[in-house]
Every structure is written in structure tokens, then in C-alpha cells.
Homo-oligomer: 460 residues x 2
């Protein structure tokens, strides 16, 4: 009988190792019209594989453009996934009880990866394909450090060298993230660094530059482009990165079946878009093909609301203007987001796939302010135990809002959110919140106009 009680209160829906997806889902196969072409920043013409070859291995370039619906996941990658995948799907019963809600709230917990977030899902894949094509060294940039940690770990598994250009202000403020990467064997330098021409140039102008993600990208790309043994690795935005993350949503669908439940609303935070896409794309595919009507909500900070307040236009992926031009919802590539603690959501643009789905009404977006986000994080920590990363807390906030709405409307509704990582390295932000020192930032209308003046002119 105690057994029965426990079953009624089932909390976790686990899958067996054998249930790790064997294929990634490529939503490009199901889009009604193809993605807008990526343009060369110099010529304004669509770029081809040869343009990307100095930076990426050929298999990832193929994955970037393929129209195949399902891409086989090599056993070598699944072998690493098995260290923490399938990740658990939790029914947030204690949170539901704290809210007194009629809704069912589930969270997919990606913080179980050793790097503490969903980022290794693609880092491992990227390290593998680079290794396979003879690359011996990868470069990347990192801000808050979640992506750098994931790539550092992946490189240690495949015995690749890894150099991480870490935004200098983060390098100084988050020493533990740096040590984590070094523990996995990566070389970490503060950016701007004297190791690249791009870095030297910035340092000449301002020796005390705090750095930025834009500068760090420039350094990592230059490093990779100028060395035969080295390629570059990006943690979000690109199509293949989003595709690698679909293991999250694919597992979640199977887990909901085990829970004998079905998602009405799927929620995840969106910075570059890979975390949202990871959970939402498999559901979006069912929506495009008319199989399901699930609401899919991307959550961004009011401080950096690219989907809800940006323009859908061609823009550079980086701040400096070195990358190809991509059509996306953007706040303008020279927009500098306010210093919210959700560092992973401070990006001026958004993954083209996410933008297209938003433009076509397949997904929704909502922006939430910082303090409301941390209020949600605190309630989550005190009911479910896990202290969420500030990025993930954005999804928690909207899940709570939707649960309360369901309660008011007297509906049952099943809400699924992506808890993309834990907040063990973000406790300074919780300290600020608990001491009532957190600010809210709205993105003012006049700033939109200003930033969008800088958009490149192309015939997109």
C-alpha cells in the first residue's frame, strides 16, 4: 500500500540508457519554406561550405544545411551522453503544492551533466566531429562560463586541446568557472588578450578593456582561422547546434508518455536559442505538421528582448561585424545588454530557426524582468530543492505564471519547462537578490530605434 502511495506521487520519469535518442531531429525538413540564406559579410552573397571550412569540420557544415529529418548520432557521442543522459523529467509536485495550482508542472533537468547545463549536448558532438576529421585543437569564447566549461569537458574526453577566450570581466568575477575549465585541461585567457591581432588592437585602444562576448568571438575565430590544426566551436545560434540539443525534447516526449501525460505548454528560456530549441523543436515539428497544438513559449529577459522587441532583419552574429549575416530577430549588433545576471541570455540576436518559427506563429515569446525571475527561482529552490541557473529561472517564472492562470481559469493544463542548468556558480546573483540589490531593466523604445540604425544593408 505504501508502494501504491508512492506511485500516485511519482516524481521522476527516468529512461534507460538504451533510450538515449539514436538520431537528432532536424526541423529544417519540416519547415514550410527554407531558412533565408546566410550571406557573406563582404559580398552580400549566400555563403557556401568553402567559406566555413576554415572554421568548422565538414560534417558540421553539412549538418548546418542538410534537409534530412533525422541525423544518426554516432555511438562515440552516445557513449559520452550516457555519463548523464537520459536526463530526468521531474514532476514538480512540491512546487505545484506551494502554488496550489490545478496545473501539472514538469521540468526536464539538464543540470545533471558534469558541466552543469545542457551545453555538453552539442559540445560533445562538436568535439567528436572535429577529432574525427583530424583537428587537434579547438577555440571558443565564453561569457558566464557555461559554454566554455562544456567544451573544455568535451575536449578532455576526445583528447583535443582547448583554448577558451573568456570575457575579462567574467574571468575576474567568476574564477571558479575558469578553474573548472582548467580542471578539465583547457587553457583559459582573459579577453581581450595579447594572443591575437584582434585582442592586441583592443588593448592598444584601452588596456583596461573589460572585454565583451563580441571581442572574445573575434579572438577565437582569428585564432582558429590562422592555425591549420585548429577549428572554432560555437555554443548556440547555428542550426547544427540547435539540432544537437533536440535530444532534450525527444527524451521529454517519451518521458511524458511514461507519465501518461501530454504537454499543453512548453517553456524554455532563450538567449542564443539552443536551450529553447532543444526542448521545443521536437514539439514544434508536431505543430507544423498539424499533429499537435502545443503552445511553445520562449522566455527572454526584458533587458535583452530580441524576439519581443527586436526587428526581423539581416544582422551580424557578433558585435564587431566579422561574421556572416543571418536573418534573425535582433536588437542591433552594437546593442550592449544591461548587466543582468542571466549572462547566457545577453545576446543581441537569436538563432535563425527560432526566429523563423516565431515569425510564422509556431512559437510565442515573452519577456520577464530580473527580480520576478529570481522570486520564481527562490520559490523553486525552497520547494523542489534545486537552485536554478538565472537563465533557467526565466522559464520557471513563466511556468508559474501559466500555472496560476490555469488555476484561475479552472483548467488542468500540463506545463513542461526546461531547467537548463543549476545555479551553483551564480550564487552571487542570489546574494544580491536576497539583499534586495537586484535591478530590473526595461529595454526603452528609443534605444531600439538607435540600435537598429546600425543594421547592415543587404537585399535579404
Amino acid at each position: 500500500m505504501a508502494q501504491g502511495t508512492l506511485d500516485r506521487h511519482r516524481t521522476k520519469f527516468l529512461l534507460d540508457e538504451r533510450d538515449i535518442p539514436t538520431k537528432w531531429y532536424n526541423i529544417q525538413a519540416d519547415l514550410k519554406t527554407p531558412l533565408a540564406p546566410v550571406l557573406h559579410p563582404g559580398t552580400g552573397q549566400p555563403i557556401g561550405p568553402q567559406d566555413l571550412a576554415p572554421l568548422f569540420p565538414m560534417e558540421l557544415i553539412k549538418q548546418e544545411v542538410t534537409q534530412e529529418r533525422w541525423i544518426e548520432i554516432p555511438d562515440e557521442i552516445r557513449d559520452v551522453y550516457r555519463l548523464w543522459r537520459p536526463s530526468p523529467l521531474h514532476r514538480a509536485r512540491r512546487l505545484e503544492k506551494a502554488l496550489g495550482t490545478s496545473a501539472h508542472i514538469y521540468y526536464k533537468y539538464e543540470g545533471v551533466s558534469p558541466a552543469g547545463s545542457h551545453k555538453p549536448n552539442t559540445a560533445v558532438a562538436q568535439a567528436y566531429y572535429n577529432k574525427k576529421e583530424g583537428v587537434t585543437r579547438l577555440t571558443t569564447e565564453t561569457g558566464a562560463g557555461q559554454w566554455g566549461s562544456a567544451l573544455a569537458m568535451a575536449c578532455s574526453f576526445f583528447e583535443l586541446q582547448c583554448k577558451v577566450y573568456m570575457v575579462k570581466v567574467s574571468y575576474q568575477q567568476k574564477p571558479y568557472r575558469r578553474v573548472m575549465m582548467e580542471t578539465w585541461g583547457a587553457q583559459v585567457v582573459p579577453s581581450p588578450s595579447p594572443d591575437t591581432e584582434a585582442g592586441k588592437k583592443v588593448l592598444q585602444g584601452d588596456p583596461d578593456s573589460p572585454g565583451s562576448l563580441g571581442i572574445a568571438i573575434s579572438e577565437a575565430v582569428e585564432d582558429a582561422a590562422t592555425r591549420e590544426d585548429t577549428k572554432y566551436s560555437l555554443g548556440s545560434v547555428l542550426n547544427h547546434v540547435l539540432m544537437h540539443q533536440t535530444v532534450i525534447g525527444l527524451e521529454t516526449k517519451r518521458q511524458l508518455e511514461k507519465a501518461d501525460d501530454e504537454a499543453d505548454i512548453v517553456i524554455a528560456s532563450a538567449g542564443g536559442g539552443s536551450n529553447f530549441a532543444g526542448l521545443a523543436l521536437p514539439f514544434a515539428g508536431d505543430k507544423i505538421t498539424g499533429k499537435k497544438k502545443t503552445r511553445l513559449i520562449a522566455v527572454e529577459p526584458t533587458a535583452c528582448p530580441s524576439l519581443t522587441k527586436g526587428t526581423y532583419a539581416y544582422d551580424f552574429g557578433d558585435t564587431v561585424g566579422m561574421t556572416p549575416l543571418v536573418k534573425m530577430h535582433t536588437l542591433g549588433h552594437d546593442f550592449v545588454p544591461p548587466p543582468v545576471h542571466a549572462g547566457g541570455l545577453r545576446y543581441h540576436g537569436m538563432a535563425p530557426i527560432v526566429c523563423k518559427l516565431y515569425d510564422e506563429g509556431i512559437i510565442e515569446a515573452v519577456a520577464v524582468p530580473q527580480t520576478a525571475t529570481f522570486q520564481a527561482a527562490l520559490l523553486f529552490a525552497r520547494s523542489e530543492g534545486i537552485i536554478p541557473a538565472p537563465e533557467s529561472a526565466h522559464a520557471v517564472r513563466v511556468a508559474i505564471d501559466e500555472a496560476m492562470r490555469a488555476t484561475e481559469e479552472g483548467k488542468r493544463r500540463t506545463i513542461v519547462l526546461n531547467l537548463s542548468g543549476h545555479g551553483h556558480f551564480d550564487l552571487a546573483a542570489f546574494e544580491a537578490f536576497l539583499a534586495d540589490r537586484l535591478e530590473d531593466f526595461e529595454y526603452p523604445a528609443e534605444k531600439i530605434a538607435e540600435a537598429l540604425k546600425g543594421l547592415p544593408r543587404v537585399n535579404g
Copy 2:
């Protein structure tokens, strides 16, 4: 066929929520002779329940002395356990490969709890029984912060107030551990504090006192003893604490069955003894009753080798000399361990149950130096991903040593270790190790003699 490949390489052995143990194992039922009585520090006479009543709820006092073999785990506790339990048992295939060993290495991973260690297994139980008996507030002490975090979380689940006296030097050096406890709603003060007579007295003598675990215990005990609504909670050493931890070993035995394997060697680090006991006691029971011959190894730091270099005698549990006298392997209660980073292993004594098993030859003990421990931690992180807590790394070190021995001897051997927690809050220690700034500490023989002079005289 890919399916088959994956099965041959199976990495994790999971149990279902329904398989969370329904009973804790009480090894007192299987000891050949009873534990030596705990003595009153004033009278030298065995203490009774009434002596402990001001500090602990009656149910825990009963559990401390019961001779019942199995104690039912209330559903309310299992409901919380289910947030992270059953914890996974991993086969460390990547570590085995890195070592080129013939041994099978498994690790039970307790770092999946939201507090990041095994400590919540007892914190949740203690919070529950206190709540049930009408207590509204708990006090405790914490050094490194793992225990304080666990109790803070447990108290938030059962809506108890929680006050943590945190050793001042840790309070200053580990602000994130403090914020973690505050996020779960606990009040955290640096000890010595002006909130207690014990704290005031120390501060009068030395306003800049860095504090110690001994002082913090005195403060937490005084606070509980002088308030009607408040009891005290301890994270190790006591019989009931060790018993609560046996869920670790009970799960592990079932998981090994699923792996179709059998433990030859079981290894865990030992500070106060609860982590070692949690994994080892269910195996020790089988050894006492002659069912199995598993080797059981407790690992301690050479800096604080209570089992391998201490004396088996009556001593105080705290530094100040306020607690009852217990018979244990001790380095003397006024021994101040060198500042190794494994803060959880810096205890002068050892749980009486662990000491008795050691004295009777049921378990072994080995001491390892700090740098060798971190070498093992680094190899583990780079092969298995997870960055171990320094305490847990002690078990990793000895598991590697035993695996290499098995390889030399051409034996297969199955080694199971308790990875009691992750090292996310210990990265300063990894930084020191990577920078070659870690010291090794041996416990010199003359210091043993000196410290043991201070042992209390009793007719034990």
C-alpha cells in the same frame, strides 16, 4: 546492433523510485557485542534518554540506541528522497580505460542531491522527526558548508526555521556556501558569534577569532539547550545519522545485482564516519554474519588519521569538552587538524560504530596525502566528467590504487566507491593544486603523544 553495443558498455545502473529503500539498516542488531556506553561528561556514568532530550527529539534518541535491525522509513521522508533518490550507480568505464585496469570500478554518486552531497539523507530525516514532535527551529554548526546546506534545505521542505553557526573562516572564504543556505531560507552567522554565551566568551578573549568546528558546536548546542522551541542537529558520528545514510549501501547492493556483479572491495572516505558508513554498513552486516568477505576500506587524510594513528579510547565529541564521552578512535579532542581542503575530514574522532568495526577487523583503514588525492580527482574529472569533492576524492585515490594492484596481480576484482559529492564549491582547492600550491601533511608521532595526553580519564 547499435543497441547491443550500448548494452555491453552500460554505464549507469538506475533504480526506480519504487526501489528507494523502505527501511534503514541498523547494524547494532548484528554487532557481536554492544557498543560501549556513552558517558556523561560530568558523572562519567552512562547517559540516558533524559540527558539527550533537550537536544534531540525522542524518536531520534530511540533510533540512537535501538537494537532493531530494520527501521521503517516514513513516507514523508521517502517523498523528499524521491527528489533525487535512488542515486545512480555508475560503472567508471572511462576511468578504467584511462588506467588500463582489469578491475571493474563503480561509483555511487551522491552529488545528485540538490545540496550536492550525501548529507541530506539524514538532514531530511532529522528535520522530519523534529517537525513531527512539534519543534519549530533547528540549530547546527557547519565548517565547509555541506552539512549546513543539507540541513537548510531539509528545513525549508518541512517549514522549520534553521540557524547555522558557520566557522568564521569558512564564512569568509566560502560565501557561496553561505548564500546557498540563505537561498533555502536559513539564518547563517559567523561563529564565534555574539548570539551565545559561548560565542561571547571566545570573542572577549579574541575578537578576531577565526572560529573552529568545536566553538560552533558549542554555540549551536547552547542555542538549542536554552530555547524551548529549538533542538540541535548533527550531521555525522551518531548512530542514527549513520543509519539514515544506509540507503546508500542498500541501493548499491541492488544496483550491483542489476549489473550482475559483486563487490570485492568497498571504499569510502571517513571524516566523522557517516559517508563511509552509508555505503559500507550494509556490506559490513553481510561480513559479520559470514555471508560475504568483501573488503571494506575507510579512507582518511594523512593530515587527520584518527583510525590509522589514533587511540581507541573515551573522548569528547567536540573540542571544548561539553559533549558526552564516546569510545572512539581519536587523535585527542584538542588536536587541530592542518588546513587540508577536505574540510569534511578534519575531525579528531570517528563514529563509534565505525571504530568498533575497525577494532574488530571487519573494516580496514588507509590514510592518503593531499596531493595524491587531487591527482586522482583530476584524472577522475578528465575521464568521467564529474569534478569530485576533495572528501570524495580520497575514495577515488584508493580505488585507483586498488585497481592498479588488481591489474598487477592479474585479477578482475570489482571495486565500489562512494562519490559522496561534487566539488563545485571546492574549486579554490583545485586551483591551488593546478598551480602546484598544495601541501601534504603528515601527522607526526610526537604530536600523537602530545594530543593524547589530554584524553579524559574514565573507567571505559
